[in-house]
Amino acid sequence: MRYLSCPFFSILRVSVTLWLIHAMSNRRFNWYKYAAPANFYPLAGKMIPWFTSITIILFAVGLYVGLFVAPTDFQQGEAYRIIFIHVPAAWMGMFLYVLMAIYAGIGWAFNARLASMMATAISTTGAIFTFISLVTGSLWGRPAWGVWWVWDARMTSTLILFFLYVGFISLQASIDDPRRADRAGAVLALVGLINVPIIYFSVQWWNTLHQGATITAKSFKMAPSMLAAMLILLAACWMYSIAVVLARVRYIIQEREREAPWLAAEAVT
């Protein structure tokens, strides 16, 4: 564990450990048990149907509220309704990057295989959400601004976020040894995490200095039903992510632990 020798990581490690001890002493629940793939695999299998059904219900309710209950915007007409998918997707893209970096960091620092697998599983979902937010953003930009793409700070930094995901995924894909892939991905994700705020602010300054007045995306007031639809759909996206990530983790476990006897027993039952 020589790579943990630098002070930054030792402080991080001590504080995370203290926090974990504190959290575990409060509850009578053995968290460590589910850090083992053999125990997590069946648990994830049981959880997936629940999250899938919650996802379907939330999507149905959210889309109903968003498409039929929410009023038409007097400035943008019906076209504004694309925000009900655009905004949750953009938020998910950002949250999932942070989550991915945290999981990758935990997997690296504590040598926790499952956490690294979670990071790998999250990366694809995060990239998809970021891509959706880019596509819907440009579809929305056409009626609202008259152009498909503007070099607006938010759009540009989302594009860069997408590139960061692509870098993470392709780095992991080109390393054959899973342990090295996990760790290399962790370094890249953490470096990216430090860089995200710097990139965001630099793009914002670049934008304001080059373009003059920028178009503000949130120039209209929100009716409560609009907000409700957006939040319900955000919850739906969360539930979808959990379900899909759990399913992906199960596939990753199947791939990496194919020699393990417990997996064969699991497949029979």
């Binding site: 790579y3 630098c6 860069i160 390393i175 953490l190 860089n195 710097i198 990139i199 300054w205």
Partner: protein, 219 residues
Amino acid sequence: MFGWLVRRDLILAWRRRADVLATFFFFVLVVSLFPLGIGPERELLRSIAPGVVWVAALLASMLSLGRLFGNDYQDGSLEQIMLTPQPHYLLVLAKILSHWVISEVPLVIVAPLLGVQFGLSQNTLGVIAFSLLLGTPVLSLIGAIGAALTLGLRAANVLVALLVLPLYIPVLIFGAGAVSASVEGLSPQPYLLLLGATLVLSLVFAPWATSAALRISVE
């Protein structure tokens, strides 16, 4: 050990001058291609010059990243260097420093000459050189992380581009911003200060991340 490593890398580079010159001429060539592609209008060239020079510097420094650890990794000397009892931070910093001297300093020197091709004023030429002087070490520092992560991988060269270019964006914005400000007759100082801040920040973090990545890759 620090001085020894720098000296060794410089001698090695001197014996393989062709590699170093290739990067240098790549930079010159790319910058000279833009007027051919866009047309010789003086005003247009003057306004795109900052971006062109900086993007070319980014690409040139990215091309040379394979050399940073690649040769040492292949002949096994990287492993020996890592086994010495010196702090890895300093060893990595020495490698990055010599890489900067070999591949980036020539670009800093030649960039003002290329600026003349674009009809920039004397004042702006100074800003180009100074912004590159502050910004190119950041490119080497950040690039080293990518180079260390992709050591010995199949498509390492293409992969490095994917990993490193998004992280270069702040440097590009600040560097090209400084030159643009100077072209428009404004003070480039805020951009140069931001570049300096980026340099300090990456000087603290990048060698750590690089040595962590090296240990993962060499293991």
